[in-house]
Amino acid sequence: MQGRIKKEWFSNIRADILAGIVVALALIPEAIAFSIIAGVDPMVGLYASFCIAVIIAFVGGRPGMISAATGAMALLMLPLVKEHGLNYLLAATILTGVIQVLFGIFKVAKVMKFIPRAVMIGFVNALAILIFMAQVPHFIGISTMTYVFVAITLLIVYIMPRFIKTIPAPLIAIIILTAIAIYANMDLRTVGDLGTITKSLPEFFIPDVPFTFETLAIIFPYSLALAIVGLLESLLTASIVDDMTGTESNKNKEARGQGIANIFTGFFGGMAGCAMIGQSVINVKSGGRGRLSTLVAGLFLMFLIIVLGDLVVQIPMPVLVGIMIMVSIGTFDWSSFSYLRKAPKTDAVVMLVTVGIVVATNDLSKGVIAGVILSAIFFVAKISHIQVKEHHENQQTIFTVEGQLFFASVDKFVDSFNYNVENKDIIIDFSNAHIWDDSAVGAIDKAVLKYRENNNTVTIKGLNASSKKIVDKLSISNHSNTKLSAH
């Protein structure tokens, strides 16, 4: 226990602290931009990033992973904030945390493994598209100078990293361009136009909502969607960090930790968040491996806001927009295009449907659910393919069955036989088949009884052990004059 705490916290102190500082610098513009996406004050995202990072450092299951306010979650919140206001969002955030803790306790993280790749690829692509679309109102048709600032920001964030590796490029863009905007007194919209920055630590308070069933009915759908999306992105990020660091992580502990972090965040005036792929990659690349890096990221972020709050409100919006465009380009899975060509057609369709539904509904959880259902249908359709071959041997008619016999394949199975024969010796061979459920047994009975009506004798053979067990238990033809033997 003590050994583990030492390893997770203090085995990499220097690099963890430095990486944490780098992450804090990269987090600030994102926390502000995601607040704007969610339609709340920048402080809500900043408090969320501070609280979530600090709490998850202690209770998360994946050391070195960065969690904070995220785009995926912010996008889900917008309708709730618009209709009911901030307090309902905070209440929903707490409920999200409770749901995630339950997910962790009931080991739902394991179920997440069954979400197909195609859906996950669709998820990140849809997220990228939505983050980009959320920027459009902030830079299209405002002013020429807005376009210029967006363009310069993009140039800086893509070219700078080649020369300066230690300071995150978005921060360099912010410092240079904010300075220029202030100095030249340019007419650009700023963060201050969209909200205020409070230079104080978050305080505990209970969201001001009526504690009624009606409130629950309003926030529950949002909380459920937030819990699912948050967990999905967190577990995906955890797998990426696992791979980059060549270590393992505890996914159920992470689900629980995400929940605890969100509960705290809701009580301290922050919006729900989850793990961030981009920031976690920055952390690992900068040398962050332990829990200390996540803690430092949260603390340093808050420190910067308290010290530099006055400057933060002066950041021009086009710079944030440029940074968010970079985030959306980085989020998009560019290998999807070759995936669409190479992957099975059904997978490609699942991916496109997931993206399409998210973009149409603005709701990531709906896309994921639709994608999962669609791929389940494709899967059933694929394995329900059953083949019955007929051949004759020593005056016996032998049918060999190949495939999985279950509710989706029984119709085809029953229709595969030719029942217009009389006084024949018929053998149905199940050596290459598997019987899964009662509808399968019912279908076998049906075929057997139909043949028997015309005075045929029917023998069933080749059932494997588990198939025989279910047939013995459920079959009715078994109990009359038909021989049933398993070899």
Binding site: M120, I121, S239, I240, K285, D333, S335
Partner: protein, 139 residues
């Protein structure tokens, strides 16, 4: 002489040619061990995870890239080990080579990712500049 050789490989044609040169050198030396090093690139971590069915499959697909190269080594009865590192290819190879005190590093002149090399410079160039032992770059 060169008893401990690091062969950096990504499965590209150049890395197979590099393996052939490594075999020539190894066949001249007794007790020579070749360590085949593959770097799982940080920049590809996200898409690798997204496009794999799971951890085991991902490990397997990385090993698979080295199969043609391993066949070469096997057919010439060279003693070798495979090591998969995680990081940015250039620095990861350099750190590992220097830390483990290899006698020789062998690497293909260019790898699979030509576009990235145009922008960021080639991995072989970085390795050659910063590794402490002799380096053999194979064209």
């Amino acid at each position: 002489m060169y008893e401990k050789i690091l062969l950096a490989a990504d499965g590209s044609k150049n890395s197979i040619r590099a393996a052939k040169e490594a075999i020539k050198i190894a066949s001249l030396i007794q007790n020579c061990l070749i360590e085949v090093v593959y770097v799982a690139d940080f920049a590809k971590a996200k898409s690798d995870i997204l496009h794999s069915k799971g951890k085991e499959e991902l490990d397997f697909s990385r090993r698979q890239k080295l199969l043609p190269l391993e066949e070469q080594l096997k057919s010439h009865n060279v003693t070798y080990e495979v090591k998969i590192l995680h990081g940015e290819p250039g620095p990861a190879i350099v750190d590992y080579a220097n830390k483990e005190k290899f006698d020789l590093v062998i690497i293909g002149s260019r790898g699979l990712n030509t576009l990235q090399e145009m922008v960021l410079g080639s991995v072989s160039h970085k390795v050659m500049k910063r590794v402490n032992c002799p380096a053999l770059i194979v064209k």
